[in-house]
Symmetry: D2
Subunit: 334 residues, 4 copies
Amino acid sequence: MELDLSPYSVRTDLALEAKEIASNRMGDTIPGVHTETSEDDGDMIVTRMDIASEEGARAIGKLPGHYVTIEVPRLREKDSDLQDRVATRLAQEFASFLQRIGIGKDARVLIIGLGNYNVTPDALGPLVVENVMVTRHYFELMPEQVSPGYRPVSAVAPGVLGTTGIETSEIVQGIVEKSRPDLVIAIDALASRALERVNTTIQIADTGIHPGSGVGNKRKGLTKEFLHVPVIAIGVPTVVYASTIVNSTMDMMLNHFKNQTSNTNQIFGMLESMEENERLQLVKEVLDPVGHNLLVTPKDIDQFIEDMANIIASGLNAALHEAIDQDNVGAYTH
Amino acid sequence: MELDLSPYSVRTDLALEAKEIASNRMGDTIPGVHTETSEDDGDMIVTRMDIASEEGARAIGKLPGHYVTIEVPRLREKDSDLQDRVATRLAQEFASFLQRIGIGKDARVLIIGLGNYNVTPDALGPLVVENVMVTRHYFELMPEQVSPGYRPVSAVAPGVLGTTGIETSEIVQGIVEKSRPDLVIAIDALASRALERVNTTIQIADTGIHPGSGVGNKRKGLTKEFLHVPVIAIGVPTVVYASTIVNSTMDMMLNHFKNQTSNTNQIFGMLESMEENERLQLVKEVLDPVGHNLLVTPKDIDQFIEDMANIIASGLNAALHEAIDQDNVGAYTH
Amino acid sequence: MELDLSPYSVRTDLALEAKEIASNRMGDTIPGVHTETSEDDGDMIVTRMDIASEEGARAIGKLPGHYVTIEVPRLREKDSDLQDRVATRLAQEFASFLQRIGIGKDARVLIIGLGNYNVTPDALGPLVVENVMVTRHYFELMPEQVSPGYRPVSAVAPGVLGTTGIETSEIVQGIVEKSRPDLVIAIDALASRALERVNTTIQIADTGIHPGSGVGNKRKGLTKEFLHVPVIAIGVPTVVYASTIVNSTMDMMLNHFKNQTSNTNQIFGMLESMEENERLQLVKEVLDPVGHNLLVTPKDIDQFIEDMANIIASGLNAALHEAIDQDNVGAYTH
Amino acid sequence: MELDLSPYSVRTDLALEAKEIASNRMGDTIPGVHTETSEDDGDMIVTRMDIASEEGARAIGKLPGHYVTIEVPRLREKDSDLQDRVATRLAQEFASFLQRIGIGKDARVLIIGLGNYNVTPDALGPLVVENVMVTRHYFELMPEQVSPGYRPVSAVAPGVLGTTGIETSEIVQGIVEKSRPDLVIAIDALASRALERVNTTIQIADTGIHPGSGVGNKRKGLTKEFLHVPVIAIGVPTVVYASTIVNSTMDMMLNHFKNQTSNTNQIFGMLESMEENERLQLVKEVLDPVGHNLLVTPKDIDQFIEDMANIIASGLNAALHEAIDQDNVGAYTH
């Protein structure tokens, strides 16, 4: 795990990718980890992963729990019909999470939009909060006027440590203690190790938010242990860390030379012998002086992020309120 | 007090104006209320008001406490030299508040920016939070590296009830309990009853934020009783309520007719006999269907608000950190 | 007309209201002005007005041309199904404008979003530009890859005089001369004289934008004469001028007294004799020192504006591109 | 030049870096290129470069002209005193550009803020436009009221091709033809090849904006040839392209192996023989599928960009208006 947390190693917030990395090392079967994949019209690949044992969790470097990943390679093509289908699928998958952890249809929900509104690839959470339907105050102020089929939903974008000076998890803990939701949903922009997953993938997990995950600095997590209510996390990779790009380059180069010189034991040995610490040292040299906080992000990130925020807000509205038709989820955001 | 809280009566968040209204009724001396005014270069009028008794508080309709009002009629002229002088004066006045209530130079401060970032005349608080210097995390994460002359300052814009679904005061209470500041500073956009005070006046008060004051809906206040730490409020009137405009029109018309017909007892009687409730009924008719939530605001409000946010952020930076030169307060915001 | 343009008289940018005012003076039939109203499910009232003669234009104070007004009293209730139906209706009405003035399905369109992005009630135009589908560059850069059923659409938010220093109409003229569209669509936030029409009404007109109309300062208009291409204007009232509120108050008061004293000739005469210039003088006194630039706007304007921008962007997308299904217009904005 | 424009090669918009690259190939002296460096208090390094011949221009890959680069390694440390000194220095350097190309103190200036307001590292230009002092409309509308010491300045953020559908240079050309400035100043976010120059360097050039430079897509430049008025460009590197990171990694690795195996002719040869096209192929593989549009940017880019925009706006205000004291440049922005 230490190596995985090193700022200069390949970093991913997706359980799917963490398992891929572990499988390269350990083979396809990892004890305590069960994966199941289905395809949907050729447009969406949905992977369900259970990390059921501590051993599996250690092997992969992710917390034990249930993860669902929706991959939609064509999602950057701005096909609004596809976007609606993804929101609908998200609503269904999310609803099954609610059922799984026993969240009833009247349970109170607090949506937390993590991230920095002013940094485009980190703005996903605040944008979802801006777009999602908020109803809790109606239940508090005029309960008799609320139509059936809705539940109390509140939503807060707590800001980031660098602009508030307070750990985000402490702000959230304070809000949870005062507003007493039965469930927290945390939305966050993530880092992937694969450029093709950036802005095309949605991960839902019942593990909450790990310390150190996401685009911003989260030194404490948002978990059931910390907040005393269940936490479902929804994340979308919007960046790749620059260190990942550097690592990929090295892999590529090592392979390139290996292929060229496969009959030359001497060189082969030399390449093999490039130790992990030499390698990290090289990555560090490339990325100094600005270090591991460098984000790699597409130039037109603003539109991807807005589209994603709408998909997630639509999906959540439909999953959270019975009165909202799950077949027409797009209609309830602005 | 009931009439003052009626949505269709003249509404002001400025103690200065509340006293003017009371003085019209009761004469200049109001028991338990002391006022002192000074001028500064002909550009600034600074009024200090103490509401020392419950009787005075009831008469004026404001909480007992200490209020300072800085009026700068030329502040809308975009004179940046004047803006700097106002920030400097604000820093001095604010520093004397800190002293008054015994807040030492190392005391921890939490700045709360009330209001809705997305509604221009209500965005003052969030804009101050965006511009003010935040230092608390340095004290938490690397205390040994903080230069002398600074104190821990955090800043949060908690949003508004309509977008979060949670009472703002409850969010703030939660954050206060977790981050444990020694003082809360609450910034808010206010309503004035006089158009000429809009965007030209700053009020500081050690009473906190009253329930129902400010541009947004605040059903619970931010007060020492509620938060268990002292609260200093800084407010700037950015709007006049439409009901105020309507009331002013009525006064004007009644006066107009009185002047024309001063020798006609019959008409005079008729005008006098327009009872408060008839009057409120008229106001209600004019403003229906949208009611008392209508704001009157200048067209170029965006620039006034940004300038004001900078003045307040600069003034606070200088007042809160000894290391910041109070003679050059402008330099420390962005 | 001079009185109508006076800053302190009642001001409206809606032809519908201008005709109501004229009808009060002249009776229901105004020569050269034809009006036709239909209702739609009880939710929408659609009024078609033709101002066919110069005489009619003078009487009403609006340019000769064709105006369609869609009034949706329930539009502020955040019913997303209703919003979709309004977008669909807008698309249909707009399409019939295109046909009327002979704009073919391949004609090139430039959408101009007038107004100030940073002043909430004036941000409608820039928000539509942000949300509308832009395609012109695909036709220019890779015409062979554009699917059938689309046309070249470009969109610019040119800013306002106060922040650019240049007349908006001159900026637009320059862009039109370089990008050579066949049609300009100008989106603008308008002033109404009736609070209930604010954020519930959409006006389409083939007259372009009049000088002096809209929320911002437009000293030159956007018209066919000036731009040499047809201009269709889409406007939504987002404010009422404070002077309108004041005038309504006066009407209300005059009526109030008249009703009370209908048998007293003397008083009746006095009220009648309140001359227009006395009246304007009173309005002026109420609104000084900030004058006729005061906007009256609901406190939660931000959400209405965003919803409206989405409705208009959706409607335009469907009306402009054959490939977009007019029955599902909501799907194509973000 | 072709190689330099290849999307997968190292890309820089800084003349300073282009010269460094050329010097690596050709030695320190490049015909027709003169460079002069001075230091300022140890905080700023100012480099003046003249590209005086076509030969020099070809060697470096930048247009002939005069370039000034201000490097301030400590500029990311949020030292507001340093920021003020940089603004002052920028004002002085810029003023000498005005003199050089014969722009008098009454000449009319149009500031163009290039880039996408909604993508943080590309928002520099629009932010400068938002902060700079605009005066042209006062000269047009009430010339007699303008104080002496000011000149007519206008400012426009024309948007980007992807959101307007129109080449930015064509929009600017249209605005120039209508508003008739004597000088255009174009502000743009740039790409550097060195992470340490990101957000610490300002380049001024009298060559205008090259096609293809800057963070956005600029297929036509903003040059004197195209606009028929002189164009001074101010640019700040806010990103490094991902392809640059990949290339640096390769250099590092090749050096690493060379050092390890310097006595092994065979391997040495192999490394040397890695041809440019093989190399580009590798870069392409690493960065696919998202390609050369990937930006590398620090996580806290939002604050750097705002600070830079203020520095540039302050510097321009002081350089453009005699009435603004060049020793207190900070005071005139908001």
